[in-house]
Amino acid sequence: MVELIGIIEGIVTLFLALGIFFMFTGAIGLLRFPDFYTRLHATGKCDTLGEVLIISGLLIYHLFVYSPGAELSVKLVPIKLLFLIAFIFLTNPTGTHALMKAGYTTGVKPWKLGEKRQ
């Protein structure tokens, strides 16, 4: 049983490390890219994937560490985390698309090679 807990902790640490890597990639893209559209490109994908990876790792940790032999309110927590994953997968690309459409219709100019960074 102790070995199983060790393996689960290793898997969870791998998930968390991958997630924080993608979130750092998105944040650096938000800082470094030259204009509005490319910044949305960086954050819309990297943040969604990183957050879903982190919450998936925590869900695995909860299922194998807290859930066996617990009361009902603790056993229901993975369902909340599944709802959170579904919400993030639905809402984050939708918000990105709405912001991109608002910027395009109000006339934000895209960056071209050789121009100054916006």
Binding site: E9, V12, T13, L16, G19, I20, M23, F24, G26, A27, I28, L30, L31, F36, R39, L40, T43, D47, E51, I54, I55, L58, Y61, H62, S73, V74, V77, K80, L81, F83, L84, F87, I88, T91, N92, T94, G95, T96, A98, L99, K101, A102, G103, T105, T106, V108, Q118
Partner: protein
């Protein structure tokens, strides 16, 4: 395992600071809106990690609520920026 949760939470706070730079100094209202949206979605994950660090399941409900509120706020602000008004009569 608690130490790993604490480390990941601090690293998420660092990424929130990086996004806060864009929210404070970014040119124009659109860049600032993107940065605020990113900060909101990172806060959802930070709340879940805080729930595991203090072992209090109350924080998961808070993070669900925050995810919905952040989405609605971003959507309404994008609509306002696009049309210049919220209620289209």
């Amino acid at each position: 395992m608690i130490q790993i949760f604490l480390t990941i939470g601090v690293l998420i706070a660092v990424t929130i600071l990086l996004a806060l730079y864009r929210a404070a100094l970014g040119p124009g209202v659109f860049n600032r809106t993107v940065a605020v949206n990113v900060i909101g979605t990172k806060t959802v994950v930070l709340l879940v990690l805080i729930g595991y660090y203090f072992e209090r399941p109350l924080f998961f409900d808070l993070s669900l609520l925050y995810a919905l509120l952040n989405f609605i706020g971003t959507l309404i602000f994008a609509k306002y920026l696009e049309r210049g008004e919220i209620w289209s009569s």
